[in-house]
């Protein structure tokens, strides 16, 4: 058993989520007889933990499998292999966490209880809301499904949470339709919908990437503030390291379905260990005209992860690759220094 990324920030013995060896393959449709001609290894053996109230960033290029991890975590997709276990605070409210639950076993009523604890904020504030339902309907839906309160209580509750996410006066937003709101306002509604059940974990899939510069910061600080106030843990998915820096306690860098580096945020940004992290960091533009940045030492482009060769996924593009890298399997994610994990033979 390889060591799992531990976590210094966790205050309880048991982390909120523990993901172990998560794998998700998508079949690539073959041509003639519809037999899959191969598999996209979208997520390929990902393990991590998220502590209570912690915010873990998941960073990587487009197509590296970030959204897939998020969807697996909230059970919108079922994993090909691997396990996810959750350990929520006991419903009775005392501090001792209950026994860990294996996500794979959840069905029916227990799945509905699970939905109360784990929520998702979608990337696209335009598509993730039913255009024919009002803001009130959208936010009250989780309450209605979970049978919390009656219709009138819900109006008050929704008004309350709208105020909380900064849509004031709430009464003027309650009965509007999504298309009557701007992108930023919609994303606030999406946040309200995710938080109205007071979940323990929120998976946020690039919540600001489709927003305008000016609303982006507002949403980021709102999410940060709410996380602190409500003790919510985030899995914060983004491709923007600068955003991750402001939102996350720790960052996991993904490359072609694998986590290649995981560390505390400032540590990772200041002293990246993995060659991919270094390339990624050196490609981020800096808003300072005097700053001169060296080109990232990386060649080629990301290949589609269709049945990739068994060696290091980064081998083809890696500036430090050696013959060990070529002949060995993908390097395991190892603890190279306290709290710093990297998957590379050359670190």
């Amino acid at each position: 058993m390889m060591p799992r990324p531990g976590d210094a920030a966790v205050t309880h013995d048991l982390p909120l989520v523990e993901v172990d060896g998560l794998v998700k393959h998508f079949p690539v449709a073959g041509n003639v007889f519809r037999k899959p001609s191969g598999f996209v290894h979208a997520v390929d053996g990902v393990s991590f933990r998220i502590g209570r109230g912690e915010s873990l960033g998941l960073v990587g290029e487009s197509g590296c499998g970030k959204t897939t991890v998020g969807k697996l975590l909230v059970k919108l997709l079922e994993p090909t292999a691997g396990s996810i276990s959750f350990c929520f605070a006991d419903a009775s409210g005392d501090e001792a966490p209950s026994e860990p639950v294996d996500a794979a076993t959840l069905t029916g009523g227990r799945l509905r209880d699970f939905r109360r604890q784990v929520q998702l904020i979608f990337q696209d504030p335009y598509g993730s809301m039913n255009p024919r339902r009002t803001i009130y309907d959208t936010i009250a839906e989780p309450l209605a499904v979970q049978r919390i309160g009656n219709a009138l209580d819900r109006v008050d509750r929704v008004a309350e949470i709208l105020t909380l996410v900064g849509l004031t006066p709430a009464s003027s937003f309650l009965f509007r339709y999504p298309h009557e709101l701007s992108g930023g306002q919609r994303q606030r509604v999406a946040i309200a919908r995710a938080l109205v059940l007071e979940p323990s974990l929120v998976v946020a899939d690039e919540p600001t990437s489709m927003l305008d510069v000016s609303s982006r910061t507002g949403i980021m600080s709102l999410m940060e503030q709410l996380a602190r106030g409500l003790d919510v843990a985030y899995l914060y998915i983004t491709h923007d390291l600068a955003v991750a820096r402001y939102m996350c306690d720790r960052i996991a860098v993904m490359y072609m379905g694998k986590i290649v580096e995981l560390a505390e945020t400032e540590e990772l940004l200041r002293h990246p260990l993995h060659p991919y992290t270094r390339a990624l960091l050196s490609a981020v533009p800096v808003p300072d005209p005097e700053h001169r940045r060296d080109p990232p030492a990386i060649s080629g482009e990301v290949a589609a992860p269709v049945d990739p060769p068994p060696r290091c996924r980064f081998y083809e593009r890696c500036p430090q690759a050696t013959s060990t890298c070529e002949s060995s399997p993908h390097p395991p994610l190892e603890e190279k220094a306290p709290g710093r994990f990297a998957a590379c033979y050359e670190v």
């Binding site: 409210g93 598509g127 979970q146 209580d153 109006v155 938080l195």
Partner: protein, 334 residues
Amino acid sequence: MRWSRSKGSLLPDASAGPPRVEPGGGRLRLLHARTRLVLRSFRNGAAVFLESRIGLLALVIIVLFAVMALSHPVLMGTVWDADIYDPVTGYAFDATEQPAPPSWKHPLGTDPLGRDVLSQLLFSTGSEFVLGITAALVTVAIATTVGAVSAYYGGLVDAFFMRLADLIIALPSISLLIVLSGLFDLSLFYLALVIGVLGGFGGTAIVLKSQALSIKVRPFIDAARMTGGGQFRIIFVHIVPNLLPLSLLYMMFTVTSAIFAEAVLSFLGLLDIRMSWGIMIHTANTGGYLLSGTRYWWLVLPAGASITFLCSAFYLAGRALDEVVNPRLSRRDG
């Protein structure tokens, strides 16, 4: 209510005091807001609908026919004597020969059996509306459900309904109706049901299913799953309402085809109906008056024109609704 868990509430004062519900007024307020919303979206839709000339024209024609339908019972109750003017059993004793050409007492003349043509025409208008609208409602109810269900579940369910639809489309529906009406005594209501069922499981279901498929992959369906809602809720609360605009459009087209199918079957004398536009033409035909050119125009022209106008009006209304449903100048932002 148990919103505030151990970790504390969202708002500092949320746990303090009861929820703010104005006694008695709250539910009304909610209802009021909803009504306003429905009215507003109706007003917006109506504005776009009427902006197109076609829509306005169609509406005028339909209203005209509706007035005609309503005027029949009124006329029968006031100025028309049932013995003379009843559309089925009446007889124009005042005319010397039947069919009689238009006169003051019989503005559209009488038919070969001495019955008043105007009375027949007005009486039938009501039946046509009942027929068309019943068939359309049945079609839309079935097609929407079938479309949403087969799009959502896919697999075997989908395969079953789609093959069924293919089968119904492959069979020429008029000849199927002819066979059915030969086997059973089809009254107006059953005819409406049969047309509705055939349309509902047939082509309309396929159209609505492909629309439902594109709705199913939209992120808000995943968002609905995230709330923990069951499949029933996702289908009927999230997919179906987004299908309704398109359903409405097909409803209009179904009215057209139902009226048309009725006319054909009546003309062939296959229906167990007292009176209809189709039967009027049928009567003229069996008397051999159809072949005598324009001399007995009042036997054919009023009914034929009515069929044409009402069918086209509903069709055009459908086209105008299309503008409301898919406005080319989309007012959505982004």
